[in-house]
Symmetry: C2
Subunit: 334 residues, 2 copies
């Protein structure tokens, strides 16, 4: 929390995106009993998974165990997680006419299970560690809603954005207002900070980001800023960073595609930064992990406001010993 | 050719990466008779496909019809193109021991079919249009050789790079020296310019690019520079652009993830630039194509040395009428 506010700390705090994930045997054991979506909808179990991970890794924050996409279900989409292929939406939005069946949520209580997860995680966590809530940014949610899942090209999304701008802005507006209520409810439930994930926005260039994304991200980021630190993670394209900073966030998430010192210069020293070790580094050896972690730490040294993290989520099959080495290296920097 | 040398031209020249591709019915007709690899190895047919495309589209250059990967076959890899899943290498290089079966080509005559394609394309093309040869950059070739195909994470590649740096540099050196001979042979056969594709290098951050890639790309780019214009296309990560420019190339290829005017500022006005319309724009309507093309042209206006192109290859299922609209828009700018 102090790092988010750019206050001096003895060493950078550290947590990892997807820290409770497929790479952990304990997580796999839980998942052998329940599906991913069932787990997300079981607050006690979700909290347990994250609390056990925080204990195991010794990280400095818990992010709630949840997913970007359940918010789309009460808005009208049929969501399924299939093993191996990732999320599928069976009734994607492909044109303006489809908006009639995509509802802004005035009432976000259909997502009560998420606020329960925040509460249970907060209740079980040491008082000196923060709980981070999260949501998808409007663009990333729109991308999934339009494609019906992940995509390499985001072609349907870009087509709607460019050829049906009125429908696009209406869709993004509904998402933005719903996400605001969803994040505020997570703060109400006890989240100390929130992260907004624009995981796929890097498929756009700056011109399109400025026109079709920035105003909606700004709506979200400004509306929740008063409640606590907001980490804005616009991933995949370093050329968007100055615009992502303009959209908002007290902390900017930085992926590994740019040197952290250069990224911080670009987003401005009036913001904190989070990142940015390449998650692939965790697939090497403890020695390489230590050396590469120290390089990232060195780039951010000399200025308060760095939260150590990866530049993207932990990959499957990551050796746990390398994750522990990363965390030990950060702690040794104190 | 004048644009490559940053000499004044009445309007920017235009050609498109993958201009002879799956989106064209004429190309599909050829491919219904021969496989992709057979086509690449049939110089007369490869030339025919490209010459017909140049006629059909009215573009200002022919790039040879070929592929990045056939160079890996005589170096020792078993290459197959399977419909739908893309290239597969059946005996990928996964560690230092595998280098024993990966040979630098002192003699690049096993790739004679490529030089024949250059010759046949040059012979059939109007004298006022250039023929562009090409090759993969060392990193992109190493990535395919190590992964055994394309990858989302390039995990095996990064692991070898970070944990076996000596083997990595040896592998990159063999690739660089082979690529130099391959490109020089294409110039000998009549290519007027060449493009070096580092299609997947955007998976790296600047620090890793600087240490593990830049020296080898520079070796290639410097060795062929005296023979004619070299277009260096390091795609996928705008934060690499200043380093890619430092590696070399009289023309820098720019993908759509950065505004073209900002990209040109970063690579320096002593270089020409090529790009950078988002290929997804060609999946919209002729009106949107015209408007978006004009925006790109406007960003590069006022300074000689812009070659209009996409920011990546044409996507499958692209409507031909939109491709024609892009080209007509560039020609109307004259």
């Amino acid at each position: 929390m102090r790092a988010c506010r750019r206050e001096p700390v003895p060493r950078p705090p550290v947590w990892l995106m997807r820290q409770a994930g497929r790479y952990l045997p304990e997580y796999q054991a839980v998942r052998s009993r329940v599906s991913f979506l069932e787990l997300c909808k079981s607050p006690e179990l979700s909290a347990e998974v994250m609390l056990a991970t925080v204990d195991r890794l010794g990280v400095d924050a818990a992010i709630i165990f949840s997913d970007l996409l359940p918010i789309l279900e009460p808005m009208g989409l049929e969501l399924e997680f299939t093993e191996g292929t990732g999320p599928v939406i069976h009734n994607p939005l492909r044109g303006p006419d489809d908006l009639a069946r995509f509802l802004e949520l005035e009432d976000v209580s259909p997502l009560d299970f998420v606020y329960e997860t925040v509460r249970a995680t907060r209740a079980g966590l040491s008082a000196d560690l923060p709980v981070i809530g999260f949501a998808g940014a409007p663009f990333t949610l729109a991308g999934y809603a339009i494609e019906g899942g992940g995509s390499r090209t985001w072609l349907h999304t870009k087509r709607m954005m460019l050829t049906e701008p009125a429908a696009w802005h209406e869709l993004m507006g509904r998402l933005a207002r719903t996400v605001i209520r969803y994040l505020l409810a997570q703060f109400d439930a006890g989240a100390n900070a929130v992260q907004v994930f624009d995981s796929w926005v890097g498929c756009l260039g700056p011109e399109h980001y400025r026109e079709f994304v920035l105003p909606h991200s700004r709506t979200v980021l400004e509306a929740v800023a008063a409640r606590g630190p907001v980490i804005h993670f616009a991933a995949g394209n370093p050329a968007l960073l100055p615009l992502a900073a303009a959209a908002g966030g007290s902390v900017l998430g930085i992926d590994w595609r740019i040197d952290l010192d250069e990224a911080w210069r670009q987003v401005g020293y009036d913001r904190a930064v989070q990142g940015n070790l390449d998650p692939a580094v965790l697939h090497t050896t403890p020695d390489v992990v230590r050396q590469q972690t120290e390089k990232v730490l060195a780039q951010a040294a000399g200025r308060p406001g760095h939260i150590m993290n990866l530049g993207h989520g932990i990959l499957p099959q990551t050796p746990v010993e390398n994750v522990l080495e990363l965390i030990a290296t950060v702690k040794a920097a104190g």
